[in-house]
Symmetry: C2
Subunit: 103 residues, 2 copies
Amino acid sequence: MSNSKNIEDFAEIFKALSNANRLTIFLRLASCCRPGTVSLFDEENSAYVGELGEELGVVKSTVSHHIKELRRVGLIRTERRGQKIACWVDPDILAALKEFLSF
Amino acid sequence: MSNSKNIEDFAEIFKALSNANRLTIFLRLASCCRPGTVSLFDEENSAYVGELGEELGVVKSTVSHHIKELRRVGLIRTERRGQKIACWVDPDILAALKEFLSF
DNA sequence: TTTACTATTCGACATATATCGAATTATATG
DNA sequence: CATATAATTCGATATATGTCGAATAGTAAA
């Protein structure tokens, strides 16, 4: 099935989490978008690219690059909503990750 | 307490698992040395540096480098037993890792 | 259609990393 | 002590990565 992952897939996932800024972004996204739920980046729950960058002290292009990487390995999913980007943590991959570490 | 970890610590841990060869080494070690139990690298359960290298197709020095990295971030612990190296997965850090991904 | 705001892409660069082979160190045994 | 075996360290190198700033693209609203 298309969901099965091998060693290299997991290595890529870990790599996506191996940078402190990227890991912070991931946790921030996870905190505002519970796995399985799609949260908009609205006023109360703002976490769009620009703001994430300000918090971290990196420019927008870098944040965009990191988000792209998180999405590439499947950790998060994103969708444009107007000018901003909605995102959520993929619940399946989180489960797969925990399963992977269960030995 | 000395066990508490911050974002950067976890990023380092993920980085240690982000290389396919290193991840393979870690899983191989985990499979022969259950967390919390210290297993020697004896004949039946051989996983010392040289053999790990042969399996992966990398030279000893590279394996040694990877093991050093896994140890540095605390994922595994090692101890010399004669000419060979005993190792085991640190159960605490595994638990911390799973806890970290529980949100 | 302008203008404003947001996100992405692109090119550049400095730094980090994976890997190898040679040299060295550690341990055991003849 | 000399030899053999195992692991580490060291120096070199090619590749990957994180970051920035400028340019571009997408969306909304005046």
